[in-house]
């Protein structure tokens, strides 16, 4: 193998693998520090995620949210943008979905209402990303800072709307009235029941299929369309993009809108799929989780589906683990997310000097 071949192996496969393993190892150390046997914990976790039908349903239900936010972060990464605002975009996107579900004529067909609800999520999610995008492209303010600010603004806005505007009469907790039946995305167990198979009830709904469809769309869009090329070109080199006739400012705005729109789909799964009403904090943690998913999945839809599944397993398994073991809370998942972001993201190049020294030394006779 030539040195270049070996370098691409190191950067493309070995480094990400070592990084993920290090994150797992670090989690194991955290387990040991809180006096939990990591092997025992892993067993419970995997059984919780896969051991029984209901568990599998929950795992895939959590996976769905992570696919949406993971795709959102990844699309932005391809244009060299760091969308840290997935949390807020998911929140406001859910508002768009809920508005459709709450105010549309409930006698209409679900075949019409659900696509409109999806469009509402896409639109509102994109809307929440467009101001930071515009400010980055045309006014030079940094997208990371503005999207952080917009996360807080989203939270303030949603609390206000849910407390003062959308709260159901006579209801103490801030939540909207229930969506009409025609705005419910069918549960997978109901779909199976309709076909004559009986499976355990879980929150898993057809949003999972929608997430897979959007993964395929993102893949097609990024690697097989003119726009996708322009986005990746801008991300690789701004100057090269300009020379090839691409307007990076426009690309920034378009990319961020797509990114926000994808994050906005969390509401489809959570609200139309499971809760059937708008409520506070339904988006909690998925926006930031998406960063871990995108980093781990190397910004490729297939990688993202795998990484999202892993986080789905951790979420569901983590719940069972917290239930089984008194000394572990489900927040161990948050720690793990942090470690994945640290080792796959921040410390991405941790092993590179060592690997390059041993596996791809510079040839003496150059």
């Amino acid at each position: 193998m030539t040195r270049d071949r070996r370098l691409s192996w190191i950067n493309g496969l070995l480094l990400p693998l070592f990084n993920v393993l290090t994150a797992f190892l670090a989690t194991a150390i955290v387990f040991i520090l809180i006096n939990v046997n990591p092997i025992e914990a892993t067993k419970i976790l995997i059984y919780g995620a896969f051991g029984y039908e209901e568990g599998i349903g929950y795992t895939l239900y959590y996976t769905t949210n992570f696919i949406f936010t993971g795709l959102a972060v990844a699309v932005a990464f391809h244009a060299g943008l760091f969308n840290i605002g997935g949390e807020g975009q998911a929140y406001v996107g859910g508002l768009g979905t809920a508005l459709v579900a709450l105010y549309i004529d409930p006698t209409l067909s679900a075949w019409l209402i659900i696509p409109l609800g999806i469009s509402g999520g896409l639109l509102f999610g994109a809307m929440w990303a467009i101001i930071p995008a515009y400010l980055q492209a045309y006014r030079g303010s940094h997208i990371v800072i503005t999207t952080i600010m917009f996360n807080f603004l989203a939270s303030a806005l949603m609390v206000y709307l849910l407390v003062h505007v959308l709260r159901e009469m006579g209801q103490m907790s801030p939540q909207s009235k229930d969506f009409p039946d025609s705005a419910w995305i069918p549960f997978v167990h109901d779909v199976f029941a309709g076909m004559g198979y009986k499976i355990a009830e879980s929150p898993l709904n057809l949003s999972f299929i929608i997430a897979l469809i959007f993964s395929a769309l993102v893949w097609f869009f990024l690697w097989h369309t003119r726009w996708g090329f322009a986005i990746r070109a801008t991300g690789k080199s701004n100057d090269a993009a300009v020379y090839s006739g691409i307007n990076p400012k426009k690309i920034i705005v378009v990319t961020m809108c797509i990114s926000g729109a994808l994050a906005g789909l969390v509401g489809i799964n959570e609200l139309m799929g499971v809760q059937h009403r708008l409520l506070l904090d339904f988006n909690y943690g998925y926006g930031f989780g998406g960063i871990a998913v995108a980093l781990m999945g190397r910004n490729h839809p297939i990688g993202i589906i795998i990484a999202a599944l892993l986080f789905g397993i951790l979420y569901q398994g983590g719940m069972d683990l917290a239930f089984e073991m008194q000394s572990v809370s489900r927040h161990i998942i948050v720690v793990m997310q942090g470690l994945v972001i640290l080792f796959c993201g921040g410390l991405e190049y941790l092993y590179r000097p060592i690997l390059i020294r041993f596996l791809a030394p510079i040839e003496a006779s150059e």
Partner: protein, 324 residues
């Protein structure tokens, strides 16, 4: 009239208490960003040190030991950030996000592991906290109208960390603008290559800046849990690290302007608490959420370049790669 004055004084008094952690965190951010390292992880460091301060204060029955441990914990997180963003030239923003999430998760599982509770530490006794200090002369000045009230309510009666925060700002100004280290710090954030060419260590300077930031965030976190409150509660920093970041931008990376921004944001927060449910003449009831959102709105408007322009240090967020 007197009522209005007293109300104003009490709101300002609350603002002092609310803006103290913002001052510590934003000064921490100032050192980091002036050296060319973006620090999104202020929030995580505050949260972690709040938790460690409360835990150590409970275990050792002393707020000062709590403070020391908090500073230590915060510095460890700062060094992780340094390792990622200085030594291994990773993405500084990603590393900062990792620190925030890590702190959020660790504080939750450690409260369970150490105190068998989900997200809180035991309530601190009064000798385990920083208590308010009555400044000398309150009785004498109290007789003077207005000034007496101001001295008694506003200036006296805070805990030591509040005074420390306000003393930190001129100190930071002096360090940044009047010492050799400060000159180098500013240079390394604007033009690291020049600093490198002059034979100074870019990495060393950046590590020092992050370490100072770690110490300041540690004090800020300890203040939140062991002075302003009497225990650690789940996610108790509630975005103050991000507000500090906003104040840093709003104050254009200059200590005194940043202090003014912190105070403004603290005042808005105190006002939001006071105005809860109050119906004002003409305007009616102002939604609390709107006042709470104001710091973020103001920062976005500033960033958009509509009220002055916020220009960060030039080399900010860029890892320095030495030429071979």
């Amino acid at each position: 009239m007197n009522d209005l004055l007293l109300n104003l004084i009490l709101t300002l008094d609350a603002s002092f208490r609310v803006c103290t952690p913002l001052i510590f965190a934003s000064m921490a951010g100032l050192f980091a960003e002036r050296s060319g390292v973006v620090d999104i992880g202020l929030e995580g460091k505050l949260l972690m040190s709040a938790f460690i301060a409360a835990s150590a204060a409970t275990v050792f029955s002393s707020p000062w030991i709590g403070l020391l441990f908090a500073i230590f914990a915060s510095c460890i997180l700062a060094m992780i950030h340094g390792l990622a963003s200085i030594t291994f030239k990773g993405n500084q923003i990603v590393s900062g996000v990792a620190i925030n999430i890590l702190a959020s998760g660790l504080t939750m599982i450690l409260t369970l592991a150490w105190f068998k509770s989900g997200g809180i530490t035991p309530t601190l006794q009064s000798d385990e906290r920083f208590l308010s200090i009555t400044l000398p002369g309150v009785d004498i000045i109290d007789h003077i109208p207005i000034i007496g009230v101001i001295y008694r309510e506003l200036i006296s009666g805070h805990n030591i960390l509040v005074y420390l925060a306000f003393a930190t700002v001129p100190l930071v100004w002096w360090v940044v603008y009047r010492t050799r280290f400060g000159l180098r710090l500013r240079a390394v954030g604007e033009n690291p290559k020049a600093v490198d060419t002059a034979g100074l260590s870019v990495e060393g300077l950046r590590y020092k800046a992050l370490l100072i930031g770690g110490i300041l965030c540690g004090i800020g976190g300890a203040y939140i849990a062991t002075a302003h409150n009497a225990q650690f509660t789940k996610e108790m920093t509630a975005g103050q690290g991000f507000i500090a970041l906003a104040a840093l931008i709003f104050g254009k990376w200059h200590p005194y302007r940043v202090l003014a921004a912190c105070f403004l944001f603290g005042f808005l927060d105190a006002l939001a608490v006071r105005l809860q449910g109050v119906v004002l003449p003409v305007i009616g009831e102002i939604p609390v959420q709107l006042i709470e959102a104001t710091p973020y709105i103001l920062t976005v408007i500033l960033l958009a370049g509509f009220i002055g322009k916020a220009i960060p240090p030039k080399a900010s967020a860029q890892p320095y790669i030495k030429e071979l």
